[in-house]
Symmetry: C2
Subunit: 441 residues, 2 copies
């Protein structure tokens, strides 16, 4: 089954608002086994709405239209649809009743706009709107299903899940089972990822593999669409996933909706470890990412944004002489920061970032993008069963503008923590940006 | 002139990625006087890319295509375009050279994928990509301009501004002058904004006024399109803008691309003041926003993410007894945090946030969303010409989920700084979320 999405609204064509409705609908349709082939966005214009719908009816089996069902005069979607399908607009008393109930709850009376909202193409089946006033509806044409929903995302989303998908489930005879997996990689370029996995074979008739750079990460998407069963679709995806994980190893940091901070948080919680953060050029971004998640106080003890040299010494005990001789952006200061925050916070791990995010502040020796990461932790020395404090650091030359440098710095620090918690191979992390000798772990 | 946008990528049709490119392009084209009529999104499919392009050539004068110019085999945009326009793909040595230079900088050799990236439809004019490797290009068909750009937003944006718009500026004969202004408001709802400005009249034939909530802010957009001159368009916009500023007063914190942090940073720099930040539930977001801007070390001295109670006392000297008796989330602790960070950092201003971002940690007395903001500063007492330390605080009950609460907390703290630097009216800030008595400034 082929799908198509039409989103309607002048605000989408002026660049003021990003169309997120079609992302949601595309995800739901494709998870249901309906492959969206086109997304079309048009303004509140009768002729262009009509033309888009006519083209969609020729190409797709299921069409979802959103937007332009409100009570104001610029809401003309139903009129345009009726005209394109050569149907009359008729008043649906059931729709009007629902609008009246909703308005009453808010202490508002039925107005002329509301009556226009209850005028739907003849033959429509109403789809209830549990959130707002505008009713949605289903209408069939040439054996194709057209679903028309309001553009307010909160309303549209509920109506897709509670209205559209159940109807499609009943109507569809031929079932398609879709399994999907996204593998997330950090530290390799898109080409490097591709080169490593390109010889992995898969059934190209039933499966798709895609590569997507989402700075500073790269995603691999594996999709299978089969007719027999979900188990079969999942099995195909799992087969390819395992081979890819085999060649990519620890480069794969997560899958599907997982973020790097989520993975790191999960590992810290499982191992019962706490960390503290000291950052300069990233200005709080690393702390922010580590505390984005509910329950972050379990593993996050404190963060210090030691922007000034004075802050570095008074808050985390970095020696001012060290800063003067080596520079605030140096391996030595990064190590002192990681060690200092770890000791001050009495945590298991201390991590630090110091660098030059630019656009100014760079020198010939240390240009913009120069960033040092350091990690301090305890290691069991089996010889005497005593814990020893270890600190490691690495200098990088990151590309891009201030925002990119700050983002990749925080990403790199998170990746260091992940690799450390995995028990190794920090040396292989981000080798292409390495500016100093590789760390020995 | 009519515009059309085609975005290409399987990830856009599977719901994995939201198409933000078309938002940006639509904004730029419409600011330039080119009205985008359709946005079409298709997957990496030769026939559908071709069909979309053919339809666009029939309907529009300027067509912008993005995506599918990468080095991997699923990048087939150029091939599809060449086929649709019945042109041959030829190797552009200039394009290959540019790719080679870029790769060399990163220490990567030219691969077979790179050569495919340099195969462009015959007759194309290259549009330089100052950010990444994939070259863009312009190609003409039936007097229409087709611009093909990579899908990576950072690359595409620069290429639109530095490549596409200058070419359009040279080629266009009929001039339309478009002036735009966005006014940004924090602390009022969309309806409250509308109620205040609805009686301001403007020429509805030449002008548009729009209202757009962008959580936690509200934008008002004022647009004028005229044929005579840019001065005339700007004059119309200025007239409406001034009336709106008249009724909204200090509620308008910025305009156009200005962010609240930018405005605050500008004021701090102008006044030669430094600040330091202590935050708990916002986890570094306030520090991050204050250091997003180049040159932030001029005004930002340090930040502390005092997540644990121990961090609050050891880093900023908050009394443990105070935390035990009043609670970490309280006006007293917020004030102690603001004062403590100000004194420790020896800055002019100290600002703090302590609250419950949820989803857990709420109590009946202090539910999720309870947040205290405090501001410490020096005030000249004219009686004895001595500076006195002042600290003020306010409790709020913010709505929404963890992400919303963290965002609105950082926004509110920034707004406090802005209002303080403006010389007053912190009392009127965010009154609808107020949970404790209004501060007396």
């Amino acid at each position: 089954m082929k799908g198509e999405i039409i989103t309607i609204g002048n605000e989408l064509l002026s660049g003021l608002v990003t169309d997120t409705n079609s992302t949601f609908i595309a995800e739901r349709l494709s998870s249901f086994g309906i492959e969206p082939l086109y997304i079309t966005t048009v303004g509140d214009d009768e002729s262009r709405i009509g033309q888009s719908l006519k083209a969609a009816v020729l190409r797709a089996d299921v069409i979802v239209v959103t937007g332009g069902l409100g009570p104001t005069p610029d809401d003309i979607t139903s009129k345009a649809i009726a005209k394109a399908l050569e149907k009359r607009l008729v008043l649906f008393p059931e729709a009007l009743d629902q609008i009246e109930i909703k308005l009453k709850k808010r202490g508002i009376k039925l107005g002329p706009g509301s009556e226009r909202q209850a005028l739907l193409p003849k033959g429509s089946t109403i789809i209830k709107n549990p959130v707002g006033t505008a009713p949605g509806y289903k209408i069939s044409q040439d054996g194709k299903f057209i679903f028309v929903l309001p553009g307010v995302p909160k309303e549209m989303k509920v109506m897709i899940d509670q209205g559209v998908l159940p109807i499609l489930g009943e109507e569809s005879k031929q079932k398609i089972f879709v399994a999907k997996k996204v593998l997330k990689v950090f530290g390799l370029t898109e080409s490097q990822v591709y080169e490593r996995v390109k010889n992995i074979s898969y059934n190209k008739k039933l499966m798709q593999v895609g590569f997507l750079p989402v700075f500073p990460e790269n995603f691999i998407t594996i999709t299978a669409r089969v007719e027999d069963s979900m188990e079969s679709a999942e099995g195909l995806v799992r087969g390819v996933e395992e081979k890819m994980r085999g060649v990519l190893g620890e480069r794969v940091f997560g899958e599907d909706d997982e973020t790097l901070e989520m993975v790191v948080a999960g590992m810290l919680i499982t191992k019962g470890l706490k960390l503290a953060v000291s950052e300069s050029c990233s200005g709080g971004l690393l702390s922010k990412r580590l505390t984005d998640l509910p329950g972050s106080s379990t593993y996050f003890e404190r963060g210090v944004v030691s922007y000034s040299n004075e802050a570095k010494s008074s808050l985390i005990g970095v020696d001012q002489t060290l800063i003067q001789t080596k520079g605030a952006v140096s391996a030595d200061v990064a190590e002192a920061m990681a060690m200092g925050i770890k000791r001050g916070a009495k945590t298991d791990i201390g991590v630090s970032i110091t660098g030059i995010a630019g656009p100014s502040g760079g020198t010939e020796e240390k240009p913009v993008g120069t960033v040092f990461i350091a990690l301090a932790f305890n290691e069991d020395r089996s010889s005497n069963h005593k814990k020893e404090e270890i600190v490691i650091s690495q200098g990088y030359a990151f590309p891009g503008d201030r925002e990119s440098i700050r983002l990749i710095s925080s990403e790199m620090a998170l990746e260091w923590i992940r690799r450390y918690l995995l028990g190794g191979k920090i040396a292989e992390v981000g080798e292409r940006w390495r500016a100093t000798e590789a760390v020995d772990i």
